[in-house]
């Protein structure tokens, strides 16, 4: 294991400290318990957005704290959801009285910890709503399982719900917007390599030189199946087709296309995937109206990518275009 780190157990704290130093104009980093809140929080009258989850997915979530997106982010240990002990003070710190939306990726750990935090925060008089993101079509949804994972689509939920909050939407309305984004986004990912959790020191899984994992999550967990390596165009079809099908996206509809890097793949390759995905959507008569390409929801240094498609309408386009100013996503200001 070779990483630009010091003590493997201090990775999250030291990284957050550097993050806070680099973005001191934008946010404050709280240590012990660890959470990040935007400058000027709570924003009077505004519904607040809080998200969080295991670390190792940077810039998710702390990179999305700021105007027009999250009010607070709560980072757990690497690939481990944060605890109520962190979520509760973050929730309290950003509540203006207008209530707080917890945006939670659907993993047992995240769900349970946010659930406890929400209960206890409610008991303290804060109105909390929870929106689950479960966009990963690689996992079969079923009543009897943990359900689908929340992956790349989370960024889109956070951006768009954040804009709704800035627009002045009340708690239930912001929750509704977040839910509608979550309902209309699907994602699927591929890994060309595993990743190494610092405290473990061994790659999460090993792939032969001619193998790839289709349907991976974002925690270095193995995917649904392993196939022989193939060209970017073929891989792109394998990811995009189930996404579009599950979403039921058809000719004449409008979409946001998001090609997300897992951390160790060069940007140039993401654009090769984007090229093919855009062409495939075009062939299906779907108009790509907005796009996002880059490393936004990562798995440490994993090589690979995910493709997300979000069904757009006029309102979502407006909210997407609304100004945002965070460490990792910024426009309009």
């Amino acid at each position: 294991m070779k990483k630009l780190i010091n003590d493997p157990r201090a990775v999250v704290d030291e990284s957050l400290e550097g993050f806070g130093l680099a973005h001191a104009d934008l946010l404050d980093v709280h240590a012990n318990p660890a959470y990040v809140i935007r400058k000027g929080a709570p924003v009077a009258g505004k519904v607040a957005l809080v998200s969080g989850g295991g670390s190792g997915h940077e810039p998710l979530h702390a990179g999305f704290v700021g105007h027009g997106m999250l009010d607070a982010a709560v980072p757990g240990a690497v690939f481990t959801s944060p605890t109520p002990e962190q979520i509760i003070p973050a929730t309290e710190a950003v509540d203006s009285g207008a209530g707080v939306v917890h945006i939670v990726k659907n993993y047992t750990g995240d769900v349970l910890n946010f659930e406890t935090a929400a209960e206890l925060s409610q008991a303290e008089g804060i109105s909390v709503r929870t929106v689950l993101v479960d966009d990963d079509v690689a996992v079969q949804d079923s009543l009897y399982t943990a359900g689908r994972r929340g992956v790349g689509g989370t960024v889109l939920v956070e951006k768009i719900a954040g804009a709704a909050a800035v627009r002045g939407d009340m708690l239930d309305a912001v929750t509704g917007v977040a839910e509608s984004v979550a309902r209309n986004v699907r994602t699927m990912g591929v890994a060309l390599s595993g990743c190494t959790v610092p405290h473990s020191g061994v790659p999460s899984f090993e792939l032969a030189d001619d193998e790839i994992e289709i349907g991976i999550g974002i925690h270095g967990e193995p995917g649904r199946h392993r196939i022989p390596m193939e060209g970017a165009d073929g891989i792109t079809s394998r990811l995009l087709e189930p996404v579009v099908e599950d979403l039921g996206l058809g000719s004449g509809e409008r979409a946001l296309l998001f090609v997300n890097g897992m951390g160790g793949t060069p940007l140039s390759e993401l654009y090769i995937v984007y090229r093919r995905a855009a062409r495939l959507l075009e062939e299906k008569g779907i108009t790509v109206e907005r796009s996002l390409v880059g490393n936004y929801v990562t798995s440490l240094e994993m090589q690979g990518c995910s493709i997300s498609v979000l069904r757009l309408d006029d309102e979502l386009v407006d909210l997407w275009d609304a100004p945002v100013h965070t460490a990792a996503l910024r426009w309009g200001m």
């Binding site: 481990t80 605890t83 109520p84």
Partner: protein
């Protein structure tokens, strides 16, 4: 005579030692079908339990377990944190202010712990989770009580059953937790949470004076 607060504290301290010793093994198990953190999470959590024990001295077994519940809930994170946190909290509630825990009270506390996990996690037996260690442990404890066993023997029976339960997760296809994302590929691996459960219950028996096969 049953088990008192000394046992409870010994149990938690031995648990911390066991989690540290088995940290890498639990990480490895989790690496195969999860995200490589279970050993790290449990180790971190029980180190926090140890720390809390240096800060305050609980005076009943129930108080000791409540202290552990709080530490686990606030330091473990992941799925295991809230599940074990709830388990220890429910056990603590079941024990109430009793200073001396007899066999029946112990079995009831184990059942409460298991019920707490099921209530939070909604897993059923056979879903390849820690429930597959807790459920046989609770059943074995109840049987031992029915046969007139003392508290130490109840713990020994529970630990033994949990160990067997953990092994039975090997062929299962996971339906809850992270391993469920693997579908069929989760079969052939042991569930890390079931193993940590077996280790913790074994520590309970050892702390109560039952000879530990592992030669700790």
């Amino acid at each position: 005579m049953g088990l008192g607060v000394t046992w409870a504290i010994d149990w938690l301290q031995l648990s911390a030692r066991k989690m540290a010793e088995h940290r890498v093994e639990l990480i490895e198990l989790d690496r195969a079908i999860g995200d490589s953190d279970h050993g790290e999470n449990m180790d971190r959590g029980f180190q926090a339990v140890l720390e809390k024990l240096t800060e305050s001295a609980p005076d009943t077994p129930g108080a000791a377990l409540k202290l552990a519940a709080m530490a686990l809930m606030s330091k473990v994170g992941g799925a295991a944190g809230p599940l074990y946190g709830t388990a220890y909290l429910r056990a603590s509630t079941a024990l109430g202010p009793q200073e001396d825990i007899d066999a029946a009270a112990l079995a009831a506390a184990l059942a409460a712990a298991r019920d707490g996990i099921v209530a939070r996690g909604k897993a059923e037996p056979g879903d390849k989770t820690m429930v597959d260690a807790w459920t046989p442990a609770v059943e074995a404890a109840n049987e031992a009580v029915a046969l007139g066993a003392d508290a130490v023997a109840v713990l020994a029976a529970a630990a033994e059953a949990a160990e067997v339960g953990a092994v039975t997760t090997d062929p299962l296809v996971a339906r809850k937790g992270r391993a469920s994302y693997l579908g069929e590929r989760s079969a052939g691996h042991r569930d890390p949470g079931a193993v940590s459960t077996a280790l913790l219950l074994r520590a309970a028996a050892t702390a109560a004076g039952f000879p530990d096969g592992e030669q700790a």
